[in-house]
């Protein structure tokens, strides 16, 4: 359990270029500003990442040049918009290495994607007495939809526990499987701890038991190369806004063999072939799951975000993030009274910690006065907080545009916080 799957952290030689975070930073206009007279140090990336100029521009360009409804029109702009929209789908397909662009459904974000699967596949397959396995480190978005489903179907949630480093315990997970197990919903990466789970192994185990797996990749896609064919997941979900894309964009990947047998999600325009008051015939995937006017501008901009990440070179960017994580961990771990929460052997650039005798929100608000943006609280991860017996943490979550100097600022800020607030 001490290493994540190999492939998650390697990359092709072509992206093995030197990575210059200072240069990359220039692509992000928001990072150039001062907050309360301090240069902004944005360390709340796990909540939402910032957007490069090209992504912002692609939205303006859409509205300035070819805004039009998609899939229905026969005029120039409508066709241009449809082309761009469908190109974004292919971009996403390649980004996660799906077999076909029919396996890509656009949604608002991770939360909607999980609810879509619970409401369609889940409602179809989960029956009374069945069991769904989730892990102790799931985001609320990967707990509540399954709770609601279980409530409706009189089914049961089983929880795969983690150890005190914040790593899932494979042996305990294994034990949860039985004849009633019908679904596994598990996160690739923990948002509050940064733990990268060895997802291959967890999926393989489920498949041995003929149980399909949904992977919450919200915190994975911004920091790892994700390959749905290699990990062989049945469903995979993520949000655009955490990976340089716009708010309101998100992706549901599903194997076509599942999609084809699933009922529609929403009823509405563009998800059916014909409609009478007696009967409606549904379209093939992905359109069956995309009723109504989609979020055209933001889907196109999500495609641009992927192109941007390809341009800067994800391999190099992700390796630089590992360096940042190591550096930050080193910087913080000797601060007296500071305890890092989440010490898995493989982590994304997340540093969650508590300060002895100091309320996390107080610390976060004080850091804010110094221009340092962190998040405090339970991070929609109450079960994790319960595990560690704490109400919440202070979370500094990084992205490839953060620098070591910024982490030095963070350290200084924490030292000041302790001086001011420790009672």
């Amino acid at each position: 359990m001490k290493t994540a799957d190999d492939h998650t952290k390697t990359s092709s030689p072509s992206t093995m270029l030197t990575f210059d975070p200072k240069k990359v930073r220039e692509d992000f206009p928001i990072l150039q500003q001062k907050i309360f007279n301090h240069p902004l140090v944005y360390l709340d990336n796990a909540a939402t990442s910032q957007k490069p100029q090209c992504v912002i521009d692609s939205i303006s360009k859409y509205y300035t040049e070819y805004n039009s409804n998609v899939h229905r029109g026969i005029h120039f702009m409508s066709q241009k918009a449809t082309d761009a929209f469908e190109e974004a789908r292919v971009e996403v397909q390649h980004f996660i290495n799906a077999k076909s662009d029919s396996e890509i459904v656009f949604v608002r974000g991770t939360t909607e994607a999980i609810n879509l699967v619970a409401g369609t596949y889940g409602r179809q397959h989960i029956n009374e007495g069945d069991e769904i396995i989730v892990s102790e480190m799931e985001h609320h978005s990967n707990i509540i939809p399954w709770q609601l489903l279980c409530l409706e179907k009189k089914a049961k949630i089983r929880v795969a526990p983690m150890n005190d480093d914040g790593e899932l315990i494979y042996e305990e997970y294994e034990k949860l499987f039985n004849a009633k197990t019908k679904f596994v919903a598990i996160t690739y990466v923990s948002n509050s701890l940064g733990t990268i789970n060895p997802i291959n192994k967890f999926i393989a185990k489920a498949h041995q038991n003929h149980v399909p797996v949904l992977v919450d990749a919200a915190q994975a896609v911004p920091h790892l190369k994700v390959d749905v064919q290699k990990i062989d997941c049945d469903f995979l979900v993520f949000s655009g806004h955490k990976m340089c894309g716009p708010t309101g964009s998100g992706v549901l990947f599903g194997k076509l063999e599942h999609f084809e047998l699933m009922p529609p999600y929403h009823g509405g325009g563009e998800m059916m072939l014909s409609v009478t008051f007696e009967k409606t015939i549904y379209k093939e995937p992905p359109f069956r799951f995309e009723a109504g006017t989609p979020n055209i501008a933001d889907v196109i901009a999500l495609g641009e975000a992927i192109r941007y990440m390809n341009r800067i070179g994800m391999g190099a960017a992700f390796r630089y993030e590992e360096e940042l994580t190591a550096y930050g961990t080193q910087l913080l771990k000797d601060i007296p009274g500071l305890k890092i929460i989440g010490t898995a052997s493989t982590k994304t650039p997340v540093l969650s910690f508590v300060l002895e005798g100091i309320n996390a929100m107080d610390a976060g608000m004080y850091l804010d006065t110094l221009g340092i943006a962190v998040r405090t609280g339970h991070h929609c991860n109450e079960p994790v907080m319960k595990h560690f017996g704490i109400p919440g943490t202070i979370r500094a979550s990084m992205m490839f545009y953060n620098t070591k100097e910024e982490l030095n600022f963070l350290r200084e800020g924490i030292m000041k916080t302790i001086k001011l607030l420790r009672r």
Binding site: V70, H71, G73, I74, F76, Q79, T82, D83, E86
Partner: protein, 152 residues
């Protein structure tokens, strides 16, 4: 221009016809003119007997219906088509112009690269419901089939 199964004439090879079509379309640089030219091609298409305008011969597009009928003679395939859309009929004409009267094997093996080169595809709905590709598929199926749906 359009090959009828009742004439003895043998068409030029597909590749040569493709070249001619590309040259013809190159004369028009704007979409309006191309559109009109396609319409004209459709108007010159040999008529399809009404008895073939049935479910069996139908290809359903997004906002139109196309009927295609094929005849085999001396192992060459002759195509006839009609549509409730003048434009779709024109598109069919563009294809039939090149494919009708060709040996079955040639039709099946053809790549039809001229389609992309005449600059029509950029004006067709990019959505998957794109009728052009299903049209091509159908023509090839007819050529492949040999018997079904064919009058020999």
């Amino acid at each position: 221009m359009y090959m009828d199964c009742n004439t003895e004439e043998i068409p030029k090879p597909i590749s040569e016809l493709e070249k001619t079509v590309i040259e013809d379309f190159a004369l028009f640089d704007d979409w309006a003119d191309k559109y009109q030219y396609v319409i004209e091609l459709g108007q010159k298409l040999l008529p399809l007997d009404n008895k073939y305008k049935t479910e069996e011969y139908k290809i359903k597009g997004c906002q139109s219906t196309l009927w295609i009928h094929a005849v085999r003679k001396n192992n060459r395939i002759y195509f006839y088509a009609d549509s409730d859309s003048t434009f779709v009929k024109g598109l069919a004409a563009v294809l039939i112009n090149v494919l009708s009267g060709q040996p079955a094997k040639e039709i099946v093996d053809s790549h039809l690269e001229f389609i992309d080169k005449i600059g029509l595809t950029s004006h067709l709905a990019a959505s998957r419901s794109n009728g052009l590709s299903s049209m091509i598929r159908q023509l090839k199926l007819y050529a492949l089939a040999g018997s079904e749906g064919l009058t020999t």
